[in-house]
Symmetry: C2
């Protein structure tokens, strides 16, 4: 049933195969929609601009020769025969000794050939004294001298910014031929996928469809026009119909589905019958299930199922094709150099595209770090900033190696602040006020490892007495938080202490050992001599700070471990058991980093109020 | 009638005044439209992701403890009790000695706690041999370990890229609160303005409205949502009505109009009566007529009338406000350093925003040059790449000064090739094939001056015998073009030579002395002893290579000077008078520049064919 791909194609073969699939075309667009698009043909000026000899200053239209000899000491006096405003036809005749007041942009009367600026005149009643001579053509923009009819105005390949739109408007263009944005059909496959508007049945393994939305946005970023098709299940006939429809309406089909070999098999079979396979399997990680070919005569690329992998493969192989076809430039500063924080091992043989996060170190250089959760996690999407390529012949990158990071989105800033450690509601509030901050919840042990590798700017710890290692750390803020047993409103089981937990019908929602709050709970159980094996649910640990409380709120447990504040927020009761001290410390080489200074200031400004507004928090 | 602004505000006062005008807001957008927008509030995970313990590999779901001891030499045999696919509810029960085949993404059966990857198994019939022991939790992603319900998922201020959209989709979000794009009303004022769909009456001084379109596009680039209102004339009541309507519908009003003091006066009066003036007149050039205030309780900025000036003032003062309000980042590499090619003099006293073009010199450094035509020309819009700020106390920037150029659009490339000199149809064809090339038609004298200043990569000359200065130039290509008198089809006046031009009823359309073609014509007239003053129209010179021919085509003259090829294109006849030699030369320090090499190759590949396809052209 499972197909093994024996001959993997090289990345170069993928690029070549995709190059062979044409997605270009030309489309005439109204000027208002042509902004940021790429001109497909040369634009020749169809008219002279300006279309008439035009006054370039406010002043008086004159026959230049009549002004010869005028000066401040010997001004020449003229009769003002009238006014010419912009947008009106000037008088055809003008007697000797007469001038016309004229506004910038107005048509030069036929009898005149220069403008004397108003600053060089003195008006009184219907006469004007001219204080300077002018030469023919002075302060006049002659017809067609901006651009003349027949001149080459813009070349093909010009990306139309506001300035080009301005010139095209000046030429009277209502529409222009631009490179067409490739229409891209985006189809997620997998029986388990549902859309946000659908009710989620987790017990049946349902998950929200991530790839359609993420890939759709990525297509747009690369200059394509995405159409998201209804998520196709794993049924052959339905998938065929969806792809047939999409092939009719688009220039490129992208599927991504569950990473299981079975799903890949289905698409493999479909493409064998309804299209042509150019490549199946690419020597890239991630990307083994990647397929390239045509389906119903439309170019087709099958992406991996994990969102991180799908977007990575899209970015490396598909986005350049869309950029090329639509004329969308890669933003500048897409590549940055960073020092790798921790060693990366790899079995080699395939090009590896390693997603990494970035942080600015104390000396301003960049540090790259591998994400904590891997490509199966959707949070990895937003906790990484780019990819590092590891060549097939490499199997190890040592710590401190300089690597080139291809940034996912150079227009989005590299995180200003990287915090790791224990999550906390007050911390979250303060982080919300530091622009572009990133916080990764990590266990104490993992956080320490990250600190040893020189990654985070700040670390958050809870319930450790002697928290600050003076030599390497500076404490920015500290506060207390009360925690306990979270029980339904009214405490129906009448629990009074953790010693009550081994009772019948008491079902505990416990927390992961990655949380310091769990450590505090375990120390208390130990002090009280509670047999943890006697507690129903003790070994079923939940990952988030609020997970246990939310289990109680949704009746999945009768008691949980959590903060008093969380219980209050969820309308639950608490049996208080203790208080933890939370500390935020800065690594000493990062205390001068602007974002760390900002964080420090925010704590100084806001901690008292934030702590006061939250149940069970004290300074 | 004309108002003089006596106290000019400083640029800092403009920024402060604009800072005081609030344009921010929050808007809930469907996920598909939220891409590239900025999150206005924190997003907390409303669900666990994954919502169930999830198989992370294809393989067999097992009770880990039953696999203890299994190895390649001593595999353990299990009965395969069934299959669990992604998206289906697993069986609740599993007997000892049984396992379930499981696909990546499927729900872990309650009785199991680990997955043995398929690669570590051997299947035969309904049994499977397991070759490795696994520990509890191996190859399983536990519920909520990607992100747990209650965790902080994304902070406010996050600019939503494809990856953030992916995470939001994973959380089941149908819509998100984002910073609202300021709605910006764009109004051009001036009786002379018409829209592209209108017929152009040049004799009445009409011009196409440039600013509405260019500023509209610039507003979009800065993250605003433009609404272009009907161009308002200079009539007080109509303008008031337009602004009243726009004020109701938008967050910011931008007007730009004719640069005449009269038009500024009108707006000044309107804002005095219907709003509040914060600033009138700014110590910036361009920008004297700039107004800042409120009209009908809506923030208002009055921009200068010249498109180059309007966009410059918009970019420096208004765009940052829109970027801030909408959360749109300035693209990276907005500022570059360049060496100024020619001296810039200035009377000082005001901040000057000098538009400049950019070109890469032979050593890879950038050279900045002032545009040829000034801010009154719309072609200056596309012939410049950014602005240089000259401080009020400066009145001169010498050649070679290092200046910072604020690029208009860092996502558009700096021109790859800069050519100057005589325009030519074959040249235009070849330039169309060199991406991002720029060509500025310049007279021989101006072109020589630009070369002396080290600006252009290549120069195009016509009709010069000894064209190449061997020490400093390399000839890339040369060809011949035939020119003559352009007459209506059938040559109704029966002209045979330039000696016929002084005849009655013969009206000449002559060319500008900036064109070498005009030089050839003048030399011929001189040789033949023709009295140029006797030629009707001789002194009325037209600017473009095709201008004179087009005058004949539109019956504005009975004979013109032009290329045989132009006459053919326009369906006119020619009386041939001579042949010019056109030469394209590269400055010797630019011959190794990639774009010059490309140009050289294109000439080598295409010149023969291009010359053959055009009337009167020979190699």
């Amino acid at each position: 049933m499972r197909r093994e791909f024996r001959s993997l194609s090289s990345p170069e073969e993928v690029h070549r195969a995709l190059d062979s699939l044409s997605m270009t075309g030309v489309k005439e667009l109204p000027l208002a929609q042509a902004h940021r698009r790429v001109l497909a043909e040369r634009v020749t000026a169809p008219i002279d601009v300006p279309g008439f000899d035009r006054a370039a200053m406010d002043g008086y239209a004159v026959r230049a020769r009549e002004t010869f000899g005028a000066s401040e000491t010997e001004p020449k006096r003229f009769t003002v025969a009238g006014v010419v405003h912009a947008g009106e036809q000037p008088p055809a005749e003008l007697a000797t000794g007469e001038v016309l007041e004229i506004a910038t942009g107005a048509v030069m009367p036929a009898a005149t050939d220069a403008v004397v600026p108003v600053e060089r005149t003195e008006e009184s009643d219907a006469t004007v004294r001219i204080l300077s001579a002018v030469a023919p053509g002075d302060n006049v923009m002659a017809r067609g001298t901006d651009i003349a009819s027949g001149d080459r105005a813009l070349g093909p390949g010009t990306r139309l910014g506001p300035r080009h739109i301005g010139l095209l408007a000046a030429l009277g263009r209502e529409s222009v031929p631009v490179q067409r944005q490739p229409r891209v059909g985006v189809i997620s496959t997998g029986e388990e996928l549902i859309q946000p508007e659908d009710p989620l049945e987790s017990a049946a393994g349902q998950i929200y469809d991530v790839n359609s939305h993420a890939i759709g946005a990525a297509v747009r970023t690369a200059g394509g026009e995405p159409t998201i098709y209804e998520t196709a299940g794993d049924e052959y006939k339905a998938l065929t119909e969806t792809l047939k429809q999409a092939a009719k309406e688009t220039d490129l089909l992208l599927t991504s589905g569950s990473t299981s070999a079975g799903s890949t098999d289905l698409l493999y079979r479909l493409i064998e019958q309804e299209g042509e396979i150019l490549l199946h399997g690419v020597a890239v990680k991630p990307g083994r299930p990647m397929l390239v070919g045509t389906i119903f005569d439309t170019p087709y690329v099958g992406l991996p199922g994990y969102p991180v992998s799908a977007l990575t493969i899209f970015r490396v192989f598909v986005a350049p094709q869309l950029r090329e076809a639509s004329g969308t430039p890669e933003p500048p500063q897409s590549n940055v150099t960073a020092s790798l924080a921790s060693p990366v091992q790899y079995d080699g043989g395939r090009l590896r595209l390693l997603p990494v996060g970035l942080v600015e170190s104390g000396d301003g250089s960049l540090v790259a770090y591998a994400p904590q959760k891997g490509s199966g996690a959707t949070t990895t999407l937003v906790e990484t900033d780019g990819i590092v390529r590891m060549a097939p012949e490499q199997n190890m990158l040592g710590p401190g190696t300089d690597v080139t990071v291809e940034r996912f989105d150079p227009t989005s800033p590299i995180p200003s602040l990287l915090g790791v450690g224990e999550p906390d509601p007050v911390l979250w509030d303060v982080l919300d006020t530091v622009e572009h901050s990133r916080f990764l919840p990590l266990s104490r042990a993992n956080a320490d490892r990250w600190v040893a590798d020189g990654i985070p700017d700040v670390t958050v710890r809870a319930d450790e007495r002697n928290q600050v290692d003076d030599s390497a750390e500076t404490e920015l803020a500290t506060w207390q938080r009360e925690w306990g047993l979270i029980v339904p409103d009214g405490n129906p089981q009448g629990l009074t202490d953790c010693t009550d937990l081994p009772r019948e019908n008491v079902q505990l929602a416990n927390l992961s050992t990655a949380l310091s709050l769990r450590g505090a709970f375990d120390r208390l159980l130990d002090e009280r001599g509670v047999d943890t094996d006697a507690i129903d649910g003790y070994h079923r640990a939940l990952p988030g700070l609020e997970s246990a409380a939310r289990s109680v709120a949704t009746d999945r447990a009768t008691v949980g471990i959590g903060l008093v504040e969380t219980a209050t927020q969820l309308g639950l009761d608490t049996v208080p058991l203790g208080t933890q001290q939370v500390s935020v410390v800065s690594q000493s080489d990062r205390t001068e980093k602007p974002s760390v200074i900002t964080l420090d200031e925010r704590f100084a400004d806001e901690l008292t109020e934030l702590v006061a507004s939250r149940e069970g928090f004290t300074e």
